[in-house]
């Protein structure tokens, strides 16, 4: 057997170790190498790694389903509220926020802060009840989780909004309306970016899965040990 043939694909091992969700991918990599050296092919090795990735990803979704529901709800709110064009959504939100907050009467820079944070706060808060319900069903509800998620989401969306000011090449003029600009990013990609932002905020804001696991372990013991 040649050297290349006796060695498993390096990229697959790297993928398994660094990109696959899972608790102990090192042991799994060792098992795959052991089977490979018993005569399995490189194709088999890659297939096993891809299955491990898919299984791990599904496991993460199963474990963190309230976060995914929150991200889906949040990005849906954005997609459904006036299309997917971000400036239009933000402007509508500003109008709504301005009506309630009277931001134009506030001294600068408070007015600017409210102008920037008002719409993002509305967007970030709109889907929080979904996360709260999911956490409650999962028996992992904590007010601090919601608060953290809301604040992190607020920060991330605001950061994204402000960073657009430094990327003028992302805008194109709207034909027939010299005062308006439109993002060159397609609506679907924008929604996907919002989905990622909401997911990241929920991921960071909520408790570690250790808490849920511990609860599950206690429930198993309570049921099995009389």
């Amino acid at each position: 057997m040649s050297g290349k043939k006796s060695n498993p694909p390096r990229l697959a091992i790297w993928w398994l170790r660094h990109a696959c969700p899972g608790s102990d991918n090192d042991a799994l990599a060792g098992d795959l190498i052991e089977r490979f050296r018993e005569g399995q092919t490189r194709g088999w090795f890659w297939m096993q790694v891809l299955i491990a990735f898919a299984v791990g990803a599904l496991g993460e979704i199963r474990l963190h389903w309230p976060h995914f529901c929150y991200a889906i709800a949040g990005s849906s709110v954005i997609a459904l509220s006036g299309g997917t064009a971000m400036p239009a959504i933000l402007w509508k939100s500003v109008q709504g926020a301005g009506f309630w907050l009277h931001w134009w009467t506030l001294p600068w820079p408070l007015s600017q802060l409210v102008l920037e944070l008002g719409p993002t706060a509305l967007l970030a808060l709109a889907a929080l009840p979904v996360l709260a319900a999911g956490l409650a069903i999962n028996r992992a509800f904590r007010w601090v989780s919601l608060l953290r998620t809301g604040v992190i989401n607020l920060a991330l969306i605001t950061l994204g909004h402000i960073s657009l000011d430094f990327l003028p090449w992302l805008y194109r003029p709207v034909p027939g309306d010299p005062d308006s600009r439109d993002l060159i990013i397609s609506g679907g990609v924008q929604v996907l970016l919002f989905f990622s932002t909401f997911l990241a905020a929920a991921w960071l804001g909520c408790l570690s899965p250790r808490h849920t696991d511990e609860y599950e372990r206690q429930a198993v013991h309570a049921r099995l040990i009389p």
Binding site: P8, D26, Q48, V55, R217, V220, L224
Partner: protein, 111 residues
């Protein structure tokens, strides 16, 4: 609301393989045991996912062996069933036996 405690089909098969293998229960022998005894070719990633779920439920424990050159310097992760796991297996067997019994169609008799 009490959380439902049960063993899925894959978890049950993997847990039984762990019990059968005793001190030699790690990924590769478990997959071979499932292939030989159950006729199921299961991906190692799926076996580890099932083992992780079993460990979360405290049905198995795991410990790392020594790294070996045949495995690219990676250690084996050995699994061992816990008393809670044995109890869960017995409960599952009782439930399945109860469901199985008294069905003439499955016992080869005509009703």
């Amino acid at each position: 609301m009490a959380r439902r405690i049960y063993l899925g089909e894959m978890e049950l098969m993997v847990l039984l393989a762990v019990v059968r293998l005793g001190d030699e229960a790690y990924g590769v022998p478990i997959s071979k045991e499932l292939l030989i005894l159950a006729g199921r070719e299961v991906a190692l990633g799926s076996i580890y996912a099932a083992l992780d779920r079993l460990q979360q439920k405290s049905f198995v424990t795991s410990l790392l062996g020594d790294p070996t050159p045949e495995r690219g310097g990676r250690a084996k992760r050995y699994f061992r069933v816990t008393p809670t796991g044995v109890r869960a297996l017995k409960m599952t067997r009782t439930a399945l036996t109860n469901l199985w019994s008294g069905i003439p169609l499955l016992e080869g008799r005509r009703s």
